[in-house]
Symmetry: C2
Subunit: 339 residues, 2 copies
DNA sequence: ATATTCTACGAAAACGTTTTCGATACTCGT
DNA sequence: ACGAGTATCGAAAACGTTTTCGTAGAATAT
């Protein structure tokens, strides 16, 4: 038996008006106890649930939040989603997810699709291509329409919105400082190309830490990976041609690739080369040896982003035009790859 | 400047009726070319986009599909989502994701929230708790209302719907057979508790392969993990107390845990013990040694599930009451953990 | 000149709610 | 018995669309 049950159907069956049914179900004192019960029993019997589309249209809010991320098969982003979903659900919101696949065009299209009333606000991390182009017109259009955005991780400063990030410079600093304190003095870093903020900023912190300790910073200490899917050869060359006693990698993948290349060449981790990675994901926990990492707290970031967005949504009346940038603390977890 | 632009606003500004605006934008011949152009220019200038909520209400379809999975920080499920999103997007659908967290109650709640008009159909994989309770009333309620469901991986047979699975029995068989052909004859399997279908079925295929080759199947060859988060001790005991020359694990995590325990005990992989895992994820590719796995083709499963659901949605008129179970081929990829 | 067909537009219903505003009939106080 | 108050309900608008139908005037045909 198909047939969704609606107020109208109930009203017809029970020979009362639609408004009476609506009021009865919301326990209005305008309706007599007897009719109230009659209607509520009928509704329960046929498992009536108000149609959320109709409610959205009436209330001009959907109780849904849109998330746009570059990739989902990616530990960090998956944890962020998990955090977003957790707090959104707790507050009665649902989460619509779209993937940009690191493509600017797809990011724009997805954003337009969602901005037409489907959602109340955005949580997003920019695609690589968007970062490269520095074209943010689609974001501006959305904010101009009064729809709030919360950005995380890969953010831009041209758009008025809340942001949730980690202090990448400080984290890069911490990674280098950690190794220096362990007595290492020939450090290398494997990073991404510069237009990816997180890579650039972590490298910058790394460099600062070295300079503060009076080290000269040489070019050969920096490897910038262009194509993350084909990084093995570049990393292998980098770690073998230079005589490092320690390495920082801006993600797990670079770290474990370096680790394996070094072990293949007969080096011992951490005795010969110590390694600190970013993103405390599953690889770090299960690699051999396990990797010391600086966690990005994706779950926490997602939760904070969702909380901030919902806060903005529900205080919309008082034109809250102040924006905040939350900096989430990183946490270094020591494992076998450092002494 | 906030203010969403609507048909009504355009009609007021241009001093025509709402219906005229609607028709003009859809290029109806009922409207003269001049007014059509006037309206279309105005609409483009103010970047008019039809409100999707209003359309959903009118058309009685949302062009959204709901996905319920147990966890998203999980390689297999993330790849499925990725596949779902890819084909759904291509066909003009959006994806709403909710997580059950392996909890029956949350699965029910999420399902009810989505079933009230938010979406046109479901794609889902059951939570562990649901599998254990064998309580599917929430699924039945949804299908009874005429909303189609496509289930994948963790499915149940009590509900009339399309399904997308891998042939777990055949895959378990293949894993065992592969090791037997390599000359191994002391095989063990690390699986999950029996109410998780995939674990049970893979174990069954494993057992059949051994029996067909004339082996006695002993209890000590089977380990069934209850708590996946604290499996290390159980796995370590299992692999060290028995004298296996090869192991099958129903997921990457069990496999790499076993691998590390064995190596810690001085065994060589694959010389002393060969390992075949399920789920061709990131761990298998980066573990040491890398793991031979039977891939679950999550991306493909997700794509197929989405395609089948959308097909059902768009042929709804002819009461298509036949249901199909698609069996996706697994693919064994050989790596270092087998000789 | 009259009847017919086009052309170009508007009115209204429908989708499922909630809410405001009446409206009816009854009770009560005087 | 009459006005005021109360209890109980219904009509209608609104959210933003699309679509069916109606209609006015103009053009054409007889």
């Amino acid at each position: 038996m198909p047939q969704k049950i609606t107020l109208k159907k109930i009203s017809k069956d029970l020979k009362v008006s639609v408004s009476t049914v609506s009021k009865a179900l919301r326990d209005s004192h305008e309706i007599s106890i007897e009719t109230r019960d009659r209607i509520k029993n009928y509704a329960k019997k046929f498992n009536y649930k108000p149609n959320s589309i109709a409610l959205s249209l009436k209330n001009q809010k959907t109780k849904k939040i849109g998330v746009i991320i570059p990739e989902i098969v990616h530990y960090f982003f998956a944890t962020v989603i998990s955090g977003v979903e957790r707090v959104a659900n707790k507050k009665g919101y649902q989460v619509i997810i779209t993937l940009s696949g690191e493509s600017f065009d797809k990011e724009v299209v997805n954003m337009e699709m969602l901005a037409n009333g489907s959602i109340d606000g955005f949580i997003m991390s920019l695609s690589k291509e968007t970062m490269e182009k520095q074209d943010f017109h689609h974001l501006r259009e959305v904010t101009n329409q009064g729809m709030p955005i919360v950005m995380f991780d890969r953010v831009c400063n041209d758009i008025p919105c809340d942001k949730v990030v980690i202090d990448d410079v400080a984290a890069g600093h911490e990674a280098a400082e950690f190794l220096l304190r362990k007595g290492r003095n020939k450090l290398g870093i494997i990073s991404t190309v510069d237009y990816v903020n997180v890579g650039r900023l972590r490298s910058q912190g790394f460099k600062e830490a070295l300079q503060q300790r009076g080290f000269d910073v040489e070019n050969h200490q920096f490897l910038k990976i262009e194509d993350i899917d084909n990084c093995e050869d570049a990393i292998e060359d980098f770690v073998l041609e230079n005589d490092f006693d320690s390495l920082v990698a801006v993600n797990e993948l670079f770290a474990v690739t370096a680790s394996k290349a070094l072990q293949k060449a007969g080096k011992n981790i951490p005795k010969d080369v110590a390694i600190v990675a970013f993103t405390d994901g599953i690889l770090s926990k299960y690699a051999s040896p396990t990797l010391t990492t600086i966690g990005q707290q994706g779950e926490e970031m997602g939760g904070i982003a969702a909380a901030k967005l919902i806060e903005k949504l529900e205080s919309k009346h008082l034109d809250n035009e102040s924006y905040e940038t939350v900096i989430v603390k990183t946490s270094l977890v020591e494992r076998e790859s450092t002494p």
